[in-house]
């Protein structure tokens, strides 16, 4: 559907896109996730035709986009600041593209109404753009782009200007909208939660390069690099040592935690080095409150810090016999007290808690 072949874009000395290659399927909800300045917007603008790649090609539906200007590409962009035309009404904003196409008035009107209904803004077509709230502007921008029936809808951090509550609601609505219209969505975001909840697939970018491209579950469970792992969710990193390895299993000793045998991850073909780093997600560790509780592996530690989140508490636990610290998250269920600092605890884990990086 969309194909990028080693697309490179430079601004003077900065390399905004460094040989990016990726394919986006038809009807997919695809997210581009990365820290500020990593080139997300540049990639979107290159696809929509506002920037021209220095190297590489872009194909949409099998057609090369070289020399095709932004106004003739089958893409539409929802701008980060929405770019609502301030001198027009909502209806004029949404109908702008159709008017430029030269459609009849009545036709435009009915399509505008349908589009507004789709984003639940029925009846607002005569409101002036500057009287709208942030969430409403966002919907107008969405309707204005969707009414053009693009092959790909490009969204540049569309939710970042909204407050948390509205953002969560819009995430939900956006996902539904995408299913309903069946248009390919390419969403840019720096919010990992947004990417995880909405996308079919995620590409993680650092410094103009794609670091990993996979489904949300895959990226979360098996990050390819420390950088990716740190960016998505939180993860404690521990020093470890390879003891032995076979074709499908690896035995490692993790300093302060213990020894475990893990299945060899698919992406790892070469032999493991001796000194390695492993990652542990906080929710895959457990603090054993009850003496009767048992786990595959248990390790003693001391709480050195805690952060209370309401439904969860994050504990920092220093492992006994080691300087290494892990983060453990615990759900604050009924009857479970919040542990104080310096308490001695037992951490329960099993081999599936450990991620090889």
């Amino acid at each position: 559907m969309i194909e990028l072949n080693s697309v490179t874009k430079r601004f003077g000395r900065t390399v905004a896109l460094d040989s990016v290659t990726l394919t986006i399927q038809r009807g997919e909800f695809f997210s581009l996730l990365g820290p500020s300045g990593c080139g997300k917007s540049t990639l979107l603008r290159t696809i929509s035709g506002f920037e021209h790649p220095d190297e590489g090609d872009i194909y949409i539906d099998g057609q090369s986009m070289e020399g095709v200007e932004a106004n003739r590409r089958p893409t539409n962009l929802v701008f980060q600041n929405y770019a609502i035309f301030p001198h027009m009404t909502v209806g004029q904003n949404v109908g702008f593209g159709l008017r430029r196409k030269g459609l009849r008035k009545g036709e435009i009107k009915s399509q505008v109404n349908a589009a507004l209904e789709m984003v639940s803004l029925e009846g607002l077509e005569n409101r002036h753009a500057h009287t709208l709230s942030g969430g409403q502007r966002q919907r107008v921008a969405l309707a204005r782009a969707l009414i053009m029936r693009p092959k790909v809808l490009l969204l540049d951090e569309p939710l970042s200007a909204l407050d948390k509550k509205l953002r969560e609601q819009m995430q939900f609505e956006l996902r539904h909208l995408q299913r309903a219209v069946g248009i390919t969505f390419l969403l840019v975001t720096h919010d990992q939660e947004e990417a995880l909840t909405m996308s079919d697939r995620i590409a993680i970018m650092f410094n103009g390069r794609i670091a990993q491209l996979a489904s949300p579950e895959e990226i979360y469970a098996r990050p390819l690099s420390k950088q990716v792992a740190e960016f998505i969710g939180s993860m404690s990193f521990l020093r470890a040592e390879t003891l032995s390895q076979t074709i499908d299993a690896i035995t490692i000793r993790i300093e302060g935690l213990g020894t475990a045998t893990l299945p060899r991850p698919a992406q790892l073909s070469a032999a493991m080095k001796k000194n390695i780093t492993v990652g542990v997600r906080p929710e895959l560790l457990t603090i054993l409150f009850d003496p009767s509780e048992t786990f595959e592996f248990e390790t003693p530690g001391t709480i050195t810090g805690r952060v209370y989140y309401g439904d969860m508490t994050y504990y920092e636990v220093r492992l006994n016999n080691s300087s290494q610290v892990v983060t453990v998250s615990m759900r604050n269920t009924a009857g479970r007290s919040i542990l104080s600092e310096d308490s001695a605890v037992r951490i329960g884990w099993d081999s599936s808690s450990i991620t090889l990086i």
Partner: protein, 271 residues
């Protein structure tokens, strides 16, 4: 200490305002004073100086010439200002700074120099002096002001609006017509008004480059040598002041209307 400072400042401002307004206030006073001599004490009320204006053919010709010149100048220099401002705020190209600098130079050149240099060229080529030679000079000195006004207008509006229009399938022309132009319209009007006013008021260049048809300031210059005509000059000045105030107020009304339509909150209100 603080109080004396504050009152001192107010007193100073009042005195300064008297200084600023003194000449302008004298205009209507002597325009209505029933005496050929422009001095106190006053002699009584009359409208005859205004009536005299109404009957002076030469004045009407000069006014018409000035209005023609100012209109064409305003139009041309606003278009130039629009082009230069858009080019330098929107596009990157070699020698941008240098080209813009040349266009802006008349701003830091005494007008007499502009007048003299154009006169030299006109003489060299043996062109006839006409309203057009004045227009050429006026466009030159008005363009920098238009560039400044239009640059603020362009810098104040978000470039992604143009991109949005283009992205929605509009051509470059349509984008300009339906998005850029409406949004910089207040700037265009301001630019038209400013250049119109500058041209209408300009004396030196018109003085150097006028042929048989003179502009209003050149005509007034001629009148100033005749003491007997002074009261009617005062009446003319009063009329011009009233007219330009009216123009200014309507411009402000338009500006505020534009600002409201564009949704940008205008900071500060005139009325």
């Amino acid at each position: 200490m603080k109080w004396t400072l504050k009152y001192g400042l107010w007193a100073y401002v009042s005195l300064y305002l008297i200084f600023l307004y003194m000449p302008a206030l004298l205009l209507p006073i002597f325009a209505l004073n029933d005496s050929r001599i422009v001095a106190f004490p006053l002699q009584g009320l009359t409208w005859r100086w205004f009536a005299l204006l109404w009957e002076t053919e030469a004045l009407h010709d000069a006014l018409r010439n000035s209005l023609i010149i100012a209109s064409i100048t305003a139009f041309m220099s606003t278009i130039f200002g629009l082009m230069a401002a858009r080019a330098s705020s929107r596009y990157a190209f070699p020698m941008r700074k240098g080209m813009a600098a040349l266009v802006m130079i008349p701003l830091v050149l005494p007008e007499i120099i502009v007048g003299v240099s154009l006169l030299v060229v006109v003489m060299q080529f043996g062109f006839d002096l006409s309203l057009w030679t004045i227009i050429l000079g006026h466009v030159l000195i008005c363009t920098p002001f238009c560039v400044v006004v239009m640059s603020t207008a362009f810098n104040n509006f978000d470039r992604s609006l143009e991109e949005a229009a283009f992205d929605l399938g509009a051509t470059r022309g349509a984008t300009f017509r339906w998005v850029s132009l409406p949004l910089v319209l207040p700037g265009v009007i301001a630019s038209l008004l400013i250049s119109f006013t500058i041209s209408l008021d300009e004396f030196i260049i018109a003085f150097f480059l006028a042929g048989v048809d003179v502009t209003l300031p050149v005509y007034i210059w001629g009148l100033l040598r005749f003491p007997a005509r002074l009261p009617s000059v005062m009446a003319l000045g009063t009329f011009l002041l009233a007219a330009s105030l009216l123009l200014l107020i309507s411009a402000e009304v338009i500006r505020r209307y534009g600002a409201r339509r564009a949704g940008t909150s205008s900071n500060g209100h005139l009325f």
